[in-house]
Symmetry: C2
């Protein structure tokens, strides 16, 4: 595995691989790799000739008070994981090399953002699409892997690729879960014992919502109310949102139609957990 910090060099390497007819799979991350990331790398490894993993804590996607400086880092662990999983190139740039001058070009996202977690993070997805566009141009993947844990990010990146015709396929990767259903997250360590016992309820509630649609429920408000009640009854967490939207458009719908997402965010004492499930109008799981 080669570790490369220079944008110019990673771009040159990627161009060389492409000229040799090699297909590049790309996994963009902010580091502090967990099993969710490992799953992205494993899928990339299976489906491509070359795997590039990037680790870059993108300042542009952090809002005020979102504590960019306290984002967790563990470079040694990350390199060990990348090496173990057969990553070919680890791209690990500085923010100075990624943003050397004040940009003349601004990318902004006007759809899919004012719902779910995006509602409380203005500008967040502008920063995401900017860094993703830059990383795609540098690493030149045929396929890029994103975890469905952040389904809204997948939807926004899909819009970026579709609207601007990037020659990249976005591969959504199913959320990795604990045996009891809780979505893996580095935030789970911040749950106390009781909260950890309660937390799988979120996923169970989302599945209950999906089940209602599978059984023919047409009123989506009934579904959201049931999911809300289920979570409230079985946890001490405070519900931030339970939403049911079209996917990946993330628009309000008034009855089951096309592909949908049901998603929830729950605030526990020291951890805010999110989870979601994507499924079709018959309640059958379509992604993840």
């Amino acid at each position: 595995m080669k570790i490369i910090d220079s944008p110019e060099i990673i771009q040159k390497k990627a161009s060389e691989f492409k000229a040799q007819g090699k297909q590049i799979g790309f996994v963009p991350t902010m580091g502090y790799l967990h099993e969710g990331h490992e799953q992205l790398i494993k899928e990339a490894k299976e489906e491509n000739d070359i795997v590039i993993l990037s680790i870059f804590i993108n300042p542009l996607q952090f809002g005020e008070g979102e504590d960019l400086d306290r984002y967790p880092r563990d470079e040694v662990h990350d390199q060990t994981v990348a090496q173990k999983l057969g990553v070919d190139l680890l791209f690990f740039p500085t923010k100075e090399s990624m943003y050397p001058t004040e940009s003349a070009i601004q990318l902004s996202v006007n759809k899919r953002t004012n719902v779910l977690c995006g509602k409380s993070r203005p500008g967040h997805f502008d920063g995401v699409v900017t860094v993703v566009a830059k990383l795609f141009h540098l690493c030149q993947p045929a396929k890029a892997y994103f975890g469905m844990k952040d389904a809204q990010q997948v939807a926004v990146v899909k819009a970026l690729v579709d609207d601007l015709n990037f020659p990249v396929e976005i591969v959504p990767v199913a959320t990795v879960r604990e045996p009891d259903g809780l979505a893996k997250s580095s935030r789970n360590v911040n749950l106390n014992d009781q909260e950890r016992k309660d937390a799988p309820v979120i996923y169970a509630a989302l599945q209950q919502g999906r089940e209602m649609i599978r059984n023919g429920e047409q009123d989506l408000n009934n579904v959201k109310t049931a999911v809300n009640t289920f979570i409230e009854t079985h946890t001490h967490g405070k519900i931030d949102y339970v939403e049911l939207l079209s996917y990946p458009e993330l628009e309000n719908i008034d009855r089951p139609k096309g592909q949908m997402i049901i998603a929830a965010a729950v605030q526990f004492e020291k951890a805010r957990l999110i989870d979601n499930q994507v499924f079709d109008s018959h309640g059958a799981v379509t992604i993840g």
Copy 2:
């Protein structure tokens, strides 16, 4: 020469060429090809394995009242020219295929636009960078060719490529001129006989300005005044602007420094002509 109207197919072809190790040169145009375009194609042909020419009248870069519908077209002539010059793929998409849905992603340009012609065309360059980004993703060139006649467009596209790390080299191509120095333009046919006789004065005036700097003039206002006076004295056209700026940053400077552009726009009865010259602080021509 293959004529392709489908974005999906041109992207697939481009990907195949790249996987074969072939270098793609790209010439984006709005059609109605003249000698300026021919020069772009010739340079692309010399420096690449495959040349893709696009013809697309981009609605996004036309403002209100800019008469998108009256933009000149001559598909038969354009195809003949492209064929004659050895273009490999002519990409000729419809606007419905380029903009199939309302975009969720917005590209905007915050620098280099509020001067020269950009001053009177708000939003124009947002439309330019959007279509250029899309075309670059579809045609996947190593090099893209733009005429220096529109030096501001070259500067803005350069910002796009640099800020977002596109794996594309922007090749600025010198303005093609008549023997008397007048920049070739499809608008020149709209000059009456006297105006046509006067019009080369624009280029002569810009060269006089450059000559002043070569001879040590440090006050750029003196240079601009001299160019203004020269044009006013020798033509009946109305000067829209004479500007002297850093290039490609297009920022005001107070003395000769780095690379600069001197540019003028002159309104004749039925034609508005623009021209420019790029040079260094010693007055030596650097591009074109």
